[in-house]
Assembly symmetry: C2
Homo-oligomer: 465 residues x 2
């Protein structure tokens, strides 16, 4: 047995406690307080410092709460009680929203306080100003909790993959959408039923738009792009498609082809592009993910990110994407970095004077295989005409199936007499080509309903894991 | 579009280049040199410093090499050329083995140089002395590359999960074994055939013992235990079982039950135990992993680790476990931490005066469901007698199948007249109970061959992802 050696690393004088000002005492704030208490001994032994919540900013201090107020903490409605308290070293911002939270963070940084936040919307919208201010003042701005809950994707991009050129990012970045799509797939529900189930279980807000329209995923994706390539790609410039239009029949068709439909965020530099030229393909959309990929196995409220780097190869991280304790786990990781005296300057961003803008690649330089579902007239020559239109737009067919969906009423009952569904999987084709072909198909006499199409992640465009 | 703000973080005076002394110029060393060159611009923009290899220690500088010597680097056979050079800030140890490498690292730390190493065997055997020395001198000892290639498991345990109490760790920690078991499973090969294939493709050494006997996985597991719980669990005290005995028929049986056989490393604190009391169940063995778990989907030379924390829930990391560029990616991550001036003291270990020893839990406190294969006489009452012996040892049967393996010669042809295989999946039972039952079965008149048994990771003991 190896000999046990004495001092591993034991500061002569114990460091003073690190005092936190907590803004917001909802699910995540309460979980943070609970974990600080529960894992007290472990945190002290790992950092050499006690960590305590000194003040909590909340709208209604008198509100009855299920969780206890941390010992010694006082509740206040006055931001100044946190911002002007010289003992408070870290502002933990968990109130969400843009205006109040943004102002609070700005004032905290200007008062010389480190900041830890889970606010992806704020960072996606005003991140540049906030990151710049933190860097100027040499303060921490921790935001691990802002992207994918407990998954350490910020640290991984910032530190673990810092020696890599990042080739692509694909992620399941929104647990609400993933839960809804999983329910639709596993329990054969339609979108409205699955959404109600998600709301009942607390996986979806009463007002779920930000999630189901894909905007929350787009916020997170823009933060990941900033970190991976040092590029500013405003989420407002991204093609973003939500999940409200995903039909149960497409989920069933996808399964028959060996795929799952997932809401993905994707980003990659275009061929021949670099972080300097900035030509990038990125967006959020439902896509068919082949069941050989781990991404297709991400179930329920879980999130996952797959990063491809030119040294590491593919790296896949999977974990809980939301909820009190998983989000608090990441908030706490950032707080402990501060407690241990880590260097705040290691944002992993390129140390340029300013972030360069990303340039969305034009549609004729964006490629993917596609799933296309057409409702066509059941008459001779239709397949010839459909494949003619696809061929005219340089789209080559990998697989085609003409098949009634057993669980849907036959087309005839929907008022579409003599109609049949035609399912097409294509080889890799440009977005421009597919859009042109779909317009031509929609205007043709034999296509009876607006065509449905989704991107496909298959062996050919994602590699082998 | 958000306004682009000026200074993100731009040091007034550029930092001087960080100079490396590289010990070993094999697969990983050459990949490191290549990536430093290829990703030069990105590394400079992320750290603000140039990183250069100044000297390379190698046994034979004249040896013809497929990869170019980095510009400006000089090859030497003299360790002192690295150790006594005041310009060299970091020793990158990639020679492997214990004695020379250990001596080199000790001398480097004593000379005030930071160290980055991929040497898991050395750290598992003599880690305490090395970690203590680095801590005393306030120097970096980076070893991300020592465990699971490109997977950032060291950083994740050290920083991202530092606020968690870690409940369990399960990993596929050895790519060679995983490749061999994947080949046996997918291509229906026996162990010897799959090993030859692994050797042909460079996934196994000519002398593969360290890998296939499970010792390499045990080295890594002991490093993870040290980091997760601050406990010293020498790999020499661990139950370690390799894969040479895994029979194709058990792989096929496992698949029919919905499982894959994987070589896993596992560790968890016993019920009611803490990092202070140190009672722990840990080891390396082939196990049946249910196909619902991401761990069962880890194919070929990939590695994966699943960590369960009391705040984060389950976190699963998957990536390339070996090979030049993936290992170099992690080596480089450690080098970049040093280049950015990170605090070396954040090892994540408890800051105690010494690591506490882990105490292997006694067999009657270790529980798992089990797969048991018996070869029994085909006569009345055998199932009654077998289940009687199991019941006497508190083992409850979840599923039992009596079935000839289609791909194996019938028992009769193997000289076992009137024999049939009996497959049993049990509910969770103690190691002590199973061992006692297996001894009783082996000594009974109706069991004709030594029983085969493996641990099972199923829904009941791994949670839901």
């Amino acid at each position: 047995m190896p000999e046990l050696q004495p001092p591993l690393s034991c500061p002569a004088i114990p460091a003073p406690p690190l005092l936190l000002g907590l803004a917001g005492f909802g699910t995540v704030g309460a979980a943070l307080a609970a974990i600080l208490e529960k894992n007290k001994a472990e945190i002290l032994s790992r950092t050499g410092r006690e960590i305590r919540i000194k003040s909590i900013l909340t709208r209604d201090p008198a509100k009855p709460r299920a969780c206890p107020i941390p010992l010694g903490a006082h509740l206040t409605t006055q931001a100044d009680d946190l911002l002007l308290d010289p003992e408070i070293n870290v502002l933990v911002e968990l109130i969400g929203g843009a205006d109040t939270a943004g102002e609070l963070i700005r004032r905290a940084l200007e008062s010389g306080k480190n900041v830890v936040t889970a606010n992806k919307a704020l960072l996606a919208e005003r991140g540049n100003a906030i990151f710049s201010l933190a860097a100027e003042r040499n303060l921490h701005l921790g935001y691990e909790a802002a992207v994918c809950g407990a998954i350490p994707i910020i640290r991984t991009l910032r530190a673990s993959l810092a020696g890599n050129h990042i080739e692509s990012l694909i992620g399941i970045l929104n647990g609400t959408c993933n839960f809804i799509l999983s329910e639709m797939s596993e329990r054969n529900l339609d979108f409205a039923q699955a959404l109600r189930e998600a709301q009942r279980l607390g996986y979806a807000e009463a007002d779920p738009e930000l999630d189901i329209e894909g905007l929350d995923a787009a916020h997170k994706l823009s933060l990941l792009i900033r970190l991976a390539w040092g590029l500013e790609y405003p989420y407002t410039d991204m093609p973003v498609q939500g999940i409200a239009g995903v039909a149960p029949r497409d989920i069933r068709n996808a399964r028959e082809f060996g795929y799952r439909i997932k809401l993905i965020g994707y980003a990659r530099l275009g061929a021949g592009e670099s972080a300097e030229t900035g030509g990038m393909e990125a967006g959020v959309c439902p896509a068919l993910v082949h069941e050989n990929f781990l991404l297709s196995r991400v179930e329920g409220p879980y999130n996952a990110v797959r990063v491809e780097g030119n040294a590491c190869g593919s790296l896949f991280l999977h974990g809980k994407g939301a909820g009190g304790p998983p989000t608090a786990s990441s908030v706490l990781a950032d707080i402990l970095d501060i407690a241990r005296g880590d260097n705040p300057n290691n944002t992993g961003f390129p140390l340029r004077r300013q972030l360069l803008p990303a340039h969305p690649l034009p549609d004729d330089r964006c490629f993917s295989p596609w799933y296309i579902r057409l409702t066509v007239r059941d008459c001779p020559g239709v397949l010839r005409d459909v494949s003619g239109i696809l061929a005219d737009n340089d789209i080559s067919i990998a697989e085609v199936t003409q098949k009634e969906d057993a669980a849907s009423p036959p087309a005839a009952e929907q008022g579409l007499l003599d109609c049949i569904p035609l399912l097409i999987m294509t080889h890799s084709s440009s977005v421009a080509g597919v859009q042109k072909a779909l317009r031509a198909l929609e205007n043709s006499s034999f296509v009876q309903e607006p065509p449905v199409h989704y991107r496909v992640l298959g062996r050919s465009n994602v590699g082998t894991s």
